[in-house]
């Protein structure tokens, strides 16, 4: 009888552990939707943007805010901050009015997206990484990084093709009502930089 109870407890503990492991794996697959809290430096960028947005028609993007705060630029940090903005439209009216895309992508990433969108919309062959790099005026390595970032933001999806290997998520084929892939970066002699709509 005692042995049966003991075995039952062991089975219960093992099942619970298995459930916890499964839950942990599911949570990690959902990143960045359920991402960890931003660190203090990343939170500074959010504060900077929330204070800046709307001033002088500002729709300042994450990369410009990071430069303004003299933070080291990294795709990973930009992605974490960008994902936070994407998940929190309640932070500012500018996110709700113009969309999160224009606020989180760099000019290079916006132009890379346009090369693929224009080709798909005009029913032309998907450009290769070399063609994208040439069209945007960047290196192939930079084009690869940009494509990867657009995939992480779910603007592009992997697809078997003769081109770069991505297709545009349908929502972004017609993007003009939003500011998604527009940028107007303003630089003043004082050193201030911001994007306008």
């Amino acid at each position: 009888m005692m042995k049966s109870v003991h075995n039952g407890r062991l089975l219960f503990v093992a099942s619970t552990l298995l459930l916890l492991v499964c839950a942990g794996q599911a949570a990690s697959k959902q990143t960045p939707k359920k991402q960890a809290r931003l660190n203090p430096q990343e939170q500074k960028v959010i504060k900077y943007l929330v204070a800046d947005w709307g001033e002088d028609y500002s729709v300042t993007s994450v990369d410009i805010a990071m430069a303004g705060l003299k933070m080291r630029q990294s795709d990973e940090t930009r992605f974490r901050i960008g994902s936070h903005i994407k998940a929190h439209p309640e932070l500012h009216e500018i996110i709700r009015r113009w969309g999160w895309v224009t606020l989180v992508l760099t000019p290079d990433e916006k132009l890379i997206a346009r090369t693929l969108i224009n080709a798909e919309r005009d029913r032309k062959p998907e450009p290769t990484v070399t063609e994208i790099a040439k069209a945007v005026g960047i290196t192939e390595a930079q084009a690869d990084r940009g494509l990867s970032m657009l995939e992480r933001y779910e603007i592009l999806q992997r697809a078997a093709s003769q081109g770069a290997g991505y297709k545009v998520v349908p929502r972004y084929i017609k993007w003009e009502p939003r500011l998604d892939f527009i940028f107007h970066k303003v630089s003043l002699d004082s050193g201030r930089q911001f994007n306008t709509n």
Binding site: D56, Y57, V136, H184, K185, V186, S187, L188, S190, T196
Partner: protein, 50 residues
């Protein structure tokens, strides 16, 4: 354009942008509200929106 010709009319303002749908980059410098340089030179500026 509204900013350049009003609030920032006394400043030197550089703008980096692109053609509306293409991938060509545009760099324009305004001084005292007027275009000082534009690259490429064929850049056409217009005010408006919608």
């Amino acid at each position: 354009m509204l900013l350049v010709s009003s609030k920032l009319a006394n400043e030197k303002v550089s703008i980096d942008t692109s053609s509306p749908e293409g991938t060509a980059r545009i760099h324009v410098v305004f001084e005292k509200g007027k275009v000082a340089t534009a690259d490429p030179a064929s850049t056409i500026l217009f005010m408006g929106g919608g």
